[in-house]
């Protein structure tokens, strides 16, 4: 087992820098999810840890070694790819054994490890099949089996579930988590799906445009987003952002409504999650409903802040009916109101 340290890590393709001075410490046995929108550099970062991309600047430590110059095979890692990357001409058993064979591990030991992994993943009946004779979910397991048999210091996953259907994804997600807890191997997992990130990760590294926006536990990210990007990215439906002005401890919304909770001074952005808005008789946030979505467990009201065209979403528990055009008043607990500076997009305390 090993910890991973990223120190001032930079990646550039030619003149374009795609990762900017990334720092981070991943503890031994921790499951860290790198999450962010498409093109933000998640895969690039993971592949640098794997040794598949060169490092432009900074250092990567695995355990107490600097691995910048090491070949992937010498870094003691295993990687699961999005499209599984199984060798099509080898049976499941051969696929799992290939890396061990190259390392000249004895036949008996290879068989023992492959069968052990196959039992954990419940793919024993398929050991002699070729990858094309397996379903997507089974291939996914084989790809994980290939990683497990190697008994590495670090697991790396690059969107391993994105080729599966929604139901199977949820199931595999849980299995990956259980497996990682059982084996206790330090893991880095890349995804663009924030729900996947929240359920899997001990900690999440939110990347945006090659910068780390925030690195913390799912609850920290949800309760105290450091930037507007994180606030909007984590949580579904996304947080409402209302332009506002703060003066003398009073927040004035763009429609003139006033709230007694305030942070900062001058122009700010007030962020409130849809599920944190509660109907209140004297609530200051008045919403004109335009559309209603009944999801069973909760109801989503889409509309705008009254008198403005600032779009808002409200999530209410249970069944609520509201005809289009209805005006409703909401309030929120002070700890659920987040203030951001419009220029830096950073949280104001």
């Amino acid at each position: 087992m090993a910890s991973i340290t990223l120190k001032d890590l930079v990646k550039a393709y030619g003149d374009t820098e795609v990762l900017h001075h990334i720092d981070g410490q991943i503890e031994d046995g921790e499951f860290v999810v790198i999450v962010g929108p498409s093109g933000c550099g998640k895969s690039t970062l993971l592949r640098m840890v794997a040794g598949l991309e060169t490092v432009t600047g900074g250092e990567i430590h695995i355990g107490d070694r600097v691995v910048n110059e090491l070949e992937p095979a010498d870094r003691d890692i295993a990687m699961v790819f999005q499209n599984y990357a199984l060798y099509p001409h080898m049976s499941v058993r051969e696929n799992m054994a290939y890396g061990l064979k190259i390392r000249k591990i004895s036949k008996d030991e290879i068989n023992r490890r492959v069968e052990e992994a196959a039992d954990i993943l419940e793919i024993r009946p398929y050991l002699e099949r070729k990858p094309r004779q397996l379903s997507g979910g089974q291939r996914q397991r084989v790809a994980m089996g290939r990683a497990i048999v190697r008994d590495p210091q670090v697991f790396l996953f690059d969107e391993p579930l994105s080729n599966l259907d929604a139901k199977l994804r949820v199931q595999m997600r849980l299995e990956i988590r259980k497996l990682q807890q059982k084996l206790g191997v330090t893991s880095i997992y890349v995804t663009h799906d924030q729900v996947e990130a929240m359920t899997l990760g001990d900690r999440l590294m939110v990347l945006n445009g090659g910068y780390v926006e925030q690195f913390g536990t799912p609850i920290e990210l949800y309760d105290r987003p450091e930037t507007m990007f994180v606030a909007g990215f984590i949580g579904s439906p996304a947080m409402n952002f209302l332009p506002a002005e703060v003066a003398n401890g009073v927040t004035t919304l763009s429609n003139g409504a006033q709230l007694g909770v305030a942070q900062g001074q001058g122009n700010v952005v007030l962020g409130v999650r849809p599920e944190h808005l509660e109907p209140q008789e004297d609530g200051a946030i008045e919403v004109q409903v335009q559309l209603m979505e009944q999801l069973g467990a909760n109801t989503l009201l889409h509309g705008a802040l009254k008198g403005t065209d600032t779009e808002m979403v409200v999530s209410l528990p249970g069944h609520v009916t509201a005809a289009p055009g209805t005006e409703m008043k909401f309030g929120a607990a002070p700890e659920n109101m987040h203030f951001f500076a419009p220029d830096t997009q950073k949280r104001i305390e």
Partner: protein
């Protein structure tokens, strides 16, 4: 087209049958001629049904010196020469072009694309075009009248290199990355992953190249003077010349028949892989 019009079916069948007969008739006549004795073959009209001398002719052709008049090598020797030449050309071309394509696709070296285009340009220079300088080189290397002389100048192949390059480009990058994480070095990756994945393409190419090698005529004619190095395709021409004086059509036709068998055998044996190799796209 799935249509059910009897007239159309009839006509298309007639056309197809006509085509088959057109192709098969000469082969049939060759076969028939190989089963009669020499005398019968000089009488008109030529026979259209098989005779009784097949085994006799076969023996005379294989182990006799082909035509009794010429001092040529026995036909089995020529078959062997042709086989060796065709196999060496086919294997040589496949190995060399696999390796060149591997280098061009997977390695970064200075002037990589330059080399690629150099190889590509040799498409314009088949043996027939560069025959004199090539002969000079082979002669200086002392490779006249040897299997090396017969095959080496024909081995470099831009077409095959190009084809394998296309095949390798369809193999996803993750395959290489997986192999790197598994600890496979370049040659290991080549042998364990690339070659098996190109299996069907190799088979298809083997069929084409075997026939190409088998049918070589001009180059063997130039490079071999020793009767022991004669190939079967060359010998047919020589026999036809000899036939001006003493027409032994039964022996000539038997030789022609024997010359046809190995390519046919290769095509039939590799047919399944061959079709897969030319049609299959995904890896």
């Amino acid at each position: 087209m799935v249509e059910n019009r009897p007239i159309l079916t009839l006509v298309s069948h007639l056309v197809l049958i006509f085509g088959v007969v057109l192709v098969a008739l000469p082969i049939w006549i060759t076969f028939v001629a190989a089963t009669h004795d020499a005398v019968r073959m000089t009488q008109a009209p030529i026979p259209l049904l098989p005779g009784t001398h097949f085994l006799e002719n076969l023996k005379a052709t294989l182990f006799g010196s082909g035509l009794s008049s010429a001092e040529a090598a026995p036909v089995w020797r020529m078959l062997l020469n042709s086989l060796a030449m065709a196999l060496m050309i086919a294997f040589g071309k496949i190995v060399i072009s696999l390796l060149s394509a591997f280098a061009i696709v997977y390695f970064k070296f200075p002037f990589r694309m330059g080399f690629f285009w150099l190889i590509f340009i040799t498409l314009m220079l088949p043996v027939e075009v560069r025959i004199l300088p090539t002969f000079e080189v082979v002669a200086n290397l002392g490779m006249l009248n040897s299997y090396w002389g017969l095959t080496v100048p024909l081995i470099a192949s831009a077409t095959a290199t190009f084809m394998f390059r296309q095949v390798f480009l369809t193999i996803p990058d993750e395959m290489l990355e997986s192999a790197r994480i598994d600890g496979a070095g370049p040659m290991r990756f080549f042998i364990d992953i690339l070659v098996p994945l190109s299996r069907t393409n190799i088979a298809a190419l083997f069929v084409i190249l075997f026939i190409y090698g088998w049918n070589q005529y001009l180059w063997p004619l130039l490079i071999t003077t020793d009767n022991d190095m004669t190939t079967i395709v060359m010998s047919i021409k020589q026999m036809l010349e000899a036939a001006e004086q003493s027409p032994q059509w039964n022996i000539i036709m038997m030789t022609a028949l024997l010359a046809m068998i190995p390519p046919v055998f290769v095509v039939i044996a590799m047919q399944k892989l061959f079709v897969q190799g030319l049609t299959e796209t995904d890896k």
